[in-house]
């Protein structure tokens, strides 16, 4: 790796690893898995340094690796290992409709999505990417992104019917 890239890469890590970690945490819902995801994406990005001469391109690449990895890697993981959601919806809520409770319900519902569904929602509603951008990043059709987001939202409502009453509070 040439020293110029290495310096840029280090600078990038110091500067951006916090943000990458937060996204990774939302994607995985687990601190250890999030650290692994970031680390692994960084390693893979470092390997591509030749094609990443432009330091400005680093973040885009790292993120793309993270999203891809999440969508493929987690599918496998959930098959092989039990993943603890921490707590389940029946432990919380109890019909209180205040917003804090609803956020807890939302978390629990998120934990029950498939990794792909969860990734879609994080990209759309946390990273604020457009459907077109998501499609480009994951290499799938826009229509597919749209329908997956729609289905993921529907699934949230289905696993946590409390969430649908939010509407009534305008």
């Amino acid at each position: 790796m040439d020293p110029g890239f290495e310096a840029a890469f280090r600078h990038f890590i110091v500067d951006r690893s916090g943000a990458l970690f937060r996204t990774a945490y939302l994607l995985t819902g687990d601190r250890h898995a999030a650290e692994d995801l970031v680390q692994s994406a960084l390693v893979k990005t470092a390997a591509k340094w030749r094609s990443l001469r432009d330091p400005a391109a680093i973040e885009g690449y790292v993120r793309r690796v993270m999203y891809h990895e999440q969508v493929s890697w987690w599918r496998r993981r959930s098959r092989v290992v039990e993943v603890s959601a921490g707590w389940l919806p029946d432990q919380i809520g109890d019909g209180h409709a205040d917003v804090v409770d609803l956020r807890m319900v939302m978390r629990a519902a998120l934990a029950r999505l498939t990794p792909r569904q969860r990734t879609m929602l994080v990209l759309r509603y946390f990273e604020d990417l457009s459907e077109t951008e998501i499609a480009r990043l994951l290499g799938i059709r826009v229509g597919s992104v749209r329908s997956q987001i729609y289905r993921s939202l529907e699934r949230l409502k289905k696993t946590a019917p409390e969430l649908t009453i939010v509407r009534e509070f305008g």
Partner: protein, 313 residues
């Protein structure tokens, strides 16, 4: 508010809550004694995590033949993973871990037990006194088909080092007047006993208070470990067991960790809450509620509360 806004707020809450590790964690350069670890393992398991600091990446990727690099760092194609992953759950015991590893790899449990015996090969710190329990850091590990039991366990121990550094285990132990192994032992008990993470520092406090007063710890989790059983409470016969982990009979800490604690439990063991408590009762296991008491009489009330709840269920 509609569901999309609620989702936005929830995600942003979650992101704010989880403190990112220091960037050094991803940069860290480790100068350990050289261990034979294949680069493939490094790249594949995201590894030994923190050892992947720039040096390793830099040297690994520029000084090796290009073919090596290609093998080590797979492309973006989603189907590249031929490996399985294993998650070491917080508090997991080695006996559970070995069973899981055995079913994933098809190798007999005995091979993992054998590999666990060679503390030096695993890279255990000297204060581990050669025993692996407590030093397989919880987290997710990727296994490639070519990894030997020793390599798998080594990857888990490799992640313990940075965890010990981040929590300042060795210095913290010295300040507490304990050995690092004792702190880890306490952390493993805290991990096993706590229903919720926020209770961990208080449970650690109870353990310290009891040790300082020369009271027996009387902790079911240690007894169950000694008997290789699981559950939340022990029966009378178990309490008579001569095992060194029977803290109903013996004074002081058990001889070593009773599982593999995570960061929060290690931190709790190093920084217990302040308080006079000597008892706690899991009054509502379903809601994972733990209540703390200082006097025997308050303790008795908590036990009563728990039994009442059990009775009504």
């Amino acid at each position: 508010m509609n569901i999309e806004n609620l989702l936005r707020e929830t995600l942003s809450d979650m992101a704010d809550e989880e403190q990112p590790p220091a960037p050094g964690r991803f940069l860290q350069v480790h100068e350990r004694r050289p261990r034979r670890r294949s680069l493939a393992l490094v790249a594949a398991s995201a590894v030994a995590a923190l050892a992947v600091g720039s040096t390793l990446v830099v040297q690994g990727l520029s000084s090796r033949a290009p073919g090596d690099v290609a093998a080590a760092v797979p492309s973006l194609a989603p189907e590249r993973h031929s490996a399985a992953t294993i998650t070491v759950v917080e508090g997991m015991r080695l006996s559970q871990l070995f069973k899981k590893l055995s079913s994933l790899t098809g190798k007999p449990v005995a091979e993992f037990e054998q590999a666990a015996k060679d503390g030096t090969a695993l890279g255990l710190p000297t204060y581990a006194e050669g025993a692996l329990e407590g030093f397989a850091l919880p987290g997710t590990y990727e296994l490639s088909p070519t990894m030997s039991p020793s390599e798998i366990l080594r990857a888990m121990v490799a992640r313990f080092g940075p965890a010990a550094e981040e929590t300042n285990l060795v210095d913290g132990a010295r300040r507490a007047g304990r050995t690092p192994l004792e702190i880890l032992t306490i952390a493993s008990i805290v991990q096993a006993e706590a229903g919720r993470h926020e209770d961990m520092p208080k449970i650690a406090r109870v353990i310290y208070n009891r040790l300082n007063r020369k009271m027996r710890l009387q902790l079911d989790s240690t007894v169950l470990y000694g008997l290789d059983k699981y559950g939340v409470s022990v029966v009378l016969k178990d309490l008579k067991s001569p095992s060194p982990y029977n803290t109903y009979r013996r004074f002081g800490l058990p001889p070593g960790p009773i599982g593999n604690p995570g960061y929060d439990a290690i931190r709790a063991a190093l920084k217990p809450a302040t308080g006079p408590w000597l008892f706690y009762v899991n009054t509502d296991p379903k809601q994972r509620i733990t209540k703390f008491a200082t006097s025997e009489s308050d303790f008795a009330k908590l036990v009563e509360e728990r039994d009442k709840k059990r009775g009504t269920r």
